[in-house]
Amino acid sequence: MKLLNIIIYELRHFVRSKSKLYSYLFFVFTCCYSIHIGFSLYNSQNSNIKSLQEMENENISQVIKWFKTGEKGPKEKDWVDITDPYWSLRYTPKYVVKNPSPLMPLGLGQSEQYGYHKKITIWSSPYDSDVIEEISNYERFINGNIDFSFLIIFLLPLLVIIFTYNINGLEKDLNFDKLIAVQTGSLKYWVIGRLIFYWIILVSTINIFILSVFYLNNVNINDGFDLIKLSNLYVTVFFIAFYYVIMSSSSSTVIAFKMISIWLFLCVLIPGSVHQYISLKYPPNFMTDFLDANRKETYAVFKLPKEELYRQMLSIYADLDTTKQGLDSLINTKITRNTMSCIVNQINVQAINIIEEQNNFKNNLIRSTYWFNPISYFQNKWNKLTSTDYYAYKDFRDDIQLVTNKKLKILAFECWNERTVNLNLYNEYLKKLHSYNSSPNLEMITYEAIK
C-alpha cells in the first residue's frame, strides 16, 4: 500500500469520524479565539502607549508655552522656575515603554505579569511600585490565558491524543492488527502513514494561523520563521513519542492511558515539581535590600551635609570637577541638594544588581532543568520569540535605568554648570532624552514640531 493511499484512507476516516472532526474544528475555533485575545491585548497595550505619548506631548507643550510666554511655571506653584535646569528637567516628562512585539498575538507569555510603561522622574528606578502589571483579575492568571502558545504547548498534544490513540489500538482491540500487517506489508509503515496524515493537518493548521498573524501585523517571514520552526518541531516531537507508544501498546485503552500519562508528566508533573523545587531553593524575595536602598539609605542621603553630597557626586561623575560648581571654592547648597537624586540612583542601582543577580541564579536553575523538563524550554523559547519572557521585561527595566541615568546625568551637569534654561536649551534636553526612544513608532513632539 502506498503512503499516499494510506493518507487518503485516513482522510476519509477523519471526515467520517465525528469525534475527531469536531475536536479539530473546536481546536480551530479556539485558535481563532486565542488569536483574538492576543490581538486584544496587543491593541490595548498599543493604545495605552499612545495615550501616554499624548500625555507626554501635552506636558511638553505646556512647558514650551511657558517659555514662549515668559512664565516660570504653573501659576499656583510660584517656587517653580523652569529656567533652572532642576525644574525644567522635572517638567520634562519621559515615558519608557515596552512596545508589544507584533508576534504577541501568538503568545502572551509572561506579558501580563509585568508593567510595560514607566514615567521617568529624577527619583525613578525599575523596581518602583508603578512598574507593575496591568490591573487584572489574579484568578485569571492562575488559570492561564487561552493564548495561542497555550493551545499549541498544552492543548495540541491532547488533540493529537484524540486523533491517534486508536491508531493500531482499535485494530488490536478487534484483533485486526495482523490482517493489517499482511495487507500493508508493514504495520510500522501503515502506522507512520496514518500519523503523517494528522501531522500534516496539524502542522499546516498551525502554520496557517502563524502566517495569518504575520500578514495582519506586517511581520517579516524571516523574523518569525523561528516560531514556525519551533512549533513544528514541538508537534513532531509529540508525534514521535506517540508513535513509540502506539507500537509498544496492546490496546487503545493502554495507548490512551500511556499518552495521557506522557502529557501529564511532561506538561503538569515535571514543570510543577521543578517549580516547587525552585521555590524551595529560592523562596519568594521580599527584596528588603532594595527597600532599604529605596527608603532608609535614601533618607540617609537627605541628611548628608553638602560637603559629603559634593564628594559623592564627584565620585559618581568625575567630570563634574570641570563644571562651574566644580571649579568654585564654595559649595552651593541648593545645587548639591537638587542633584542628590543622582546619589540615590547609584544606591538603587547597586540594590537592583543584587536582585537581578538572584533572579539570574533562579533562571539558570530553571534552564538547567530543560533536559528533563522540555515543556518549560519550549514555553520560554516561545515567549522569547514573542518578546514576552522574563528577559524581554528585563530589557525594559534596563531601558528604565538607562533613561533615568541619562536624565540624572543631564541634571547633574546642567545644575553644576549653573545653566539658565531657555527654549533652545530645553529643546536640547528633549532631544537628548528622546535620543533613546523606546517607542520609535510614535513621533515625539519637539519645539520645531510646535512651531
Binding site: 479565539y33 485575545i37 507569555g109 509585568y114 483579575n137 484568578e139 492562575i142 503538569v268 516547587q276 528588603t288
Partner: protein
C-alpha cells in the same frame, strides 16, 4: 454493599499498575505536603524577618518631623496562610510587599512569578494540583470500564440473580473507587495537621473539613459521571474518549475561557485610566503641601473659629498638620470610591466565575479550594483593606502629632521624639476567620452539591431503566 466494595478493592489491588500508581500518588502527596509545608514555613519566616527588619528601622528613627516620617512610611508584607501549602491560589501572582506612606496608596509589588522565567502553567506541584488534575484522571481510568468488564464477564448477572439491584451494584462500585480518593485526601489532611499542629486552631480545622468535603464531592462527581458514560456508552473507548474530553475541558480549557469571558463582560479599568481618574478627583481636594482654594479656606476658617483666634499664627496648634490630615482624608475618600469600584468589578467577575460552576464543577472546586486555603481574591482584598486601614491610622497618628503634638503653624523644623514613633503600633495581619467569609462560598457549595445530587439522580434512573439480563 460492603462485600461488593471489598471485592472491588481486592480486584484493584491485584492489578499491579493500580497498586504502583496508588503508591506513587500516596508518596507524591506526602512529599508535596512536606515540601509545601517547608516552603510555607520558610516564607512565613522570611515575611516575619522582613516585617521586623522594617519595624526596627522605624523604632530607631531619630527625632524627625512627623510629616517627613509619613513620607518615610513603612511596609506591609503579605503573610501566607497555614493552608497555603495545600493550595497556593493566587499568592504566587500577587505581589507580597506594599509600601504604606502618606498621600498615596501604592501597589503591591514583587510577585513570585515576576522574579524568574516561566516554569509551570499549572502551578507548583502541591496537593491541590494533584487532587484537581491528576487524581480525577486516575479515577477516570479506574472507572471507565468497570461496568463494562462486569457485564462482559457475566458477573453482573450473577449479582443480580443473587438479589442485588443494579443501582446498588453501581453505587457500591462508585463508592469503592471514591473511597480510594478519600483515603488519599485524608492522608494529606493528616500530614497537614501533623506538620502544623502548633499553629492549628478551630478555624483551620473548619477550613480543612471544608477542603475535605469539597474534594470528596468533586471526586464523587468524577467517578459518578464516568460510570454514567460507561453505562450508556456503546463501548469502552467511546466512554473513555468522552470522559477524557470532559476532563480536559473542565480542568484546562473551560476555566481559562470562562475567566476570559468574565473579563470581557465585566471589563476592568486600565491602570492608566485608574490613575488618571484618581488624580483628577484628588486634585479637587486640598493639597496638603500646596494648599489653596475654597476647601482650604473653609478648613482654615473652621479651625480659627474652633480655637477662637483670628490669625493662623495665633493657633495653639500646627495648622499644617490639620491640613495634611484633611488632604489625607479627602484622598482616602477618593481612593475608597475608585478602589471600591475596582473591587466591585473584581467581585462581579468572581461571582460570574462562581456561577459558571453549573457547567463546570471544577470551577466550584477550585473556588472552594482557594477559599478555604485562604489564597483567593477575597482573602487578598481583605489583606489590602487591612493594610490600607493600618496606613490610615498610621498617617493620622503622624499628622495628629504634627498638628497637636506641641508645634505651632510655621514650625517646619519641629521634631517628634523617638518615643512617639515607637508608640505607633506595628502592622499585624491575621487572615480572616472563615466563618466571617462563609457567605462568599455558599454558591460554590450549592453548585457542587447540585452536581452530586444530579449524578446520584441520573445513576438512580438509568440503573432502573437499564436492561441487563
Amino acid at each position: 454493599m460492603i462485600n461488593i466494595i471489598i471485592n472491588e478493592w481486592k480486584g484493584l489491588f491485584r492489578n499491579k499498575i493500580f497498586f504502583i500508581l496508588s503508591l506513587f500518588f500516596f508518596i507524591s502527596l506526602i512529599i508535596c505536603s512536606l515540601f509545601g509545608n517547608i516552603q510555607n514555613n520558610e516564607q512565613n519566616l522570611a515575611q516575619k524577618k522582613a516585617q521586623e527588619h522594617i519595624r526596627l528601622q522605624w523604632d530607631e528613627m531619630e527625632p524627625s518631623n512627623p510629616h517627613s516620617a509619613a513620607h518615610y512610611g513603612t511596609y506591609a508584607f503579605k503573610p501566607v496562610s497555614i493552608l497555603n501549602s495545600l493550595d497556593e491560589g493566587i499568592n504566587s501572582v500577587t505581589g507580597n510587599v506594599l509600601r504604606l506612606e502618606g498621600h498615596r496608596q501604592n501597589n503591591m509589588v514583587f510577585s513570585e512569578v515576576s522574579q524568574s522565567l516561566q516554569v509551570s502553567n499549572f502551578g507548583k506541584l502541591n496537593p491541590a494540583l494533584i487532587f484537581q488534575i491528576i487524581i480525577p484522571l486516575f479515577l477516570i481510568f479506574l472507572s471507565f470500564n468497570s461496568y463494562a468488564l462486569e457485564k462482559s464477564s457475566g458477573r453482573i448477572k450473577l449479582l443480580l440473580i443473587q438479589g442485588v439491584s443494579l443501582g446498588r451494584i453501581i453505587f457500591s462500585k462508585i463508592l469503592s473507587l471514591w473511597l480510594i480518593a478519600i483515603f488519599l485526601l485524608i492522608t494529606t489532611i493528616i500530614i497537614q495537621i501533623v506538620f502544623n499542629k502548633s499553629q492549628f486552631d478551630l478555624d483551620t480545622l473548619f477550613r480543612l473539613s471544608l477542603f475535605f468535603v469539597s474534594y470528596s464531592f468533586y471526586f464523587y462527581v468524577i467517578v459518578g459521571l464516568t460510570f454514567i458514560f460507561s453505562i450508556v456508552a456503546k463501548n469502552n473507548t467511546w466512554a473513555l474518549s468522552l470522559t477524557i474530553l470532559i476532563w480536559i475541558s473542565w480542568t484546562t480549557f473551560l476555566p481559562s475561557v470562562i475567566v476570559n469571558i468574565s473579563d470581557e463582560i465585566i471589563p476592568l479599568t486600565t491602570r492608566i485610566e485608574f490613575n488618571k481618574s484618581l488624580s483628577k478627583d484628588r486634585s479637587k481636594g486640598i493639597d496638603g503641601h500646596n494648599p489653596r482654594g475654597d476647601r482650604k479656606e473653609a478648613l482654615e476658617n473652621a479651625t480659627l473659629k474652633k480655637y477662637n483666634v483670628k490669625k493662623i499664627e495665633d493657633l495653639p496648634v500646627n495648622f499644617s498638620g490639620i491640613l495634611m490630615q484633611a488632604d489625607e482624608e479627602y484622598g482616602n475618600m477618593v481612593w475608597d470610591k475608585h478602589f471600591g469600584n475596582l473591587c466591585n468589578q473584581l467581585k462581579a467577575q468572581k461571582f460570574f466565575y462562581q456561577i459558571s460552576g453549573v457547567v463546570n464543577p471544577f470551577i466550584s472546586l477550585q473556588n472552594l479550594s482557594m477559599g478555604v486555603s485562604g489564597t483567593d481574591i477575597h482573602h487578598h482584598i481583605d489583606f489590602l483593606n487591612h493594610a490600607e486601614k493600618y496606613r490610615r491610622l498610621f498617617i493620622k497618628s503622624l499628622n495628629d502629632e504634627y498638628a497637636f503634638g506641641g508645634s505651632k503653624t510655621g514650625e517646619r523644623g519641629w521634631k517628634a521624639t523617638n518615643d512617639f514613633f515607637r508608640s505607633i503600633k506595628k502592622f499585624q495581619y491575621h487572615p480572616p476567620n472563615f466563618y466571617s467569609f462563609h457567605s462568599k462560598y455558599i454558591i460554590d457549595f450549592l453548585v457542587l452539591s447540585f452536581w452530586v445530587l444530579s449524578i446520584i439522580t441520573i445513576i438512580y434512573f438509568i440503573t432502573r431503566k437499564k436492561l441487563v439480563l
